[in-house]
Symmetry: C2
Subunit: 139 residues, 2 copies
DNA sequence: TCCTACATTGGACAATGTCTAAGTCAAGAA
DNA sequence: TTCTTGACTTAGACATTGTCCAATGTAGGA
């Protein structure tokens, strides 16, 4: 994640303690925290960090493409630091756990010309739903 | 839409004026209103209808499969009465207009076994994004 | 070390959705 | 037709998630 900090510095960001802890919270694989979860985890290291700063920082990270927003349930948005590898999401319908997955082939290609209504397409996001192994075996 | 009213009656629903106007508002092709929009349109015909009733009725219609919820922007959920024909959504990134579209082939098939992490898959929802013809020509 | 533009803070405010207690009414019974 | 009753509706309080602003603090260059 120091790569990220370096990229932020290169963009002229001031490296404050608050931005550092938010970046640290968003480190790892299959990380999809809500803003509140990011705030709670950041506050473990920096108790005085405010909600506004977390929202600001997340919004900035999204706008420069370092983090992607994920809306899987119509509730709070989630923030995914795996922004440099194109992927989709697999969500458990029962417990809500989220995995990053990579479909084979481009989902855009599945939409035939006559179903494009003259739109200029730029992307397709896919959410796969089902039961995770734990929830499957729990009946 | 009287088909829908008959199906609701068959399920033992009381056919109140409120439920009728909500059902009428949700009639048509490419209809994707938010709860507030449904309430505003319903209130044109039945001014005293409450927000709570609109939310209740929409939730009931979703739970019995007559309407599907659509979350395209992380803001308010939208309600789509086209529930009996499997489809996906095409959204304009600029103006937000939504079209129902039908991909060729099953998007589920694009996810290879080794990317399923032991999940039992049940569905895949796809959101295509791009510029609609009006927004494309507007630069 | 000092400046200052940029960042952070707390809290008010906004948008969307949920819940409850009290009143209302659709539809079957007589 | 009228009565009865349990399901339905209502207004408004409350909850969750997110945005905005004025006051204060501070990172990093001079």
């Amino acid at each position: 994640m120091s790569d990220l900090l370096q990229r932020l510095r290169d963009r002229g960001w001031r490296l404050t303690a608050q931005r550092r802890v938010v970046a640290e919270v968003l480190d790892g694989e299959h990380v999809h925290y809500t803003a509140d979860e990011v705030h709670a985890r950041a506050a473990e290291r920096l108790p005085e960090i405010s909600r506004a700063t977390v929202y600001n920082t997340l919004g900035e990270l999204v706008s420069i493409g370092e983090v992607v927003e994920v809306s899987t349930d119509g509730r709070a948005k989630r923030y995914d630091p795996n922004a440099h590898h194109s992927h989709q999401h697999l969500v458990c319908s029962r417990c809500g756990v989220i995995r990053d997955v990579r479909p084979s082939g481009d989902p855009l290609a599945l939409l035939p010309e006559e179903e494009r209504f003259g739109f200029t397409l730029s992307e397709a996001t896919v959410t796969y739903r089902g039961l995770c192994p734990s929830c499957s075996s729990a009946g």
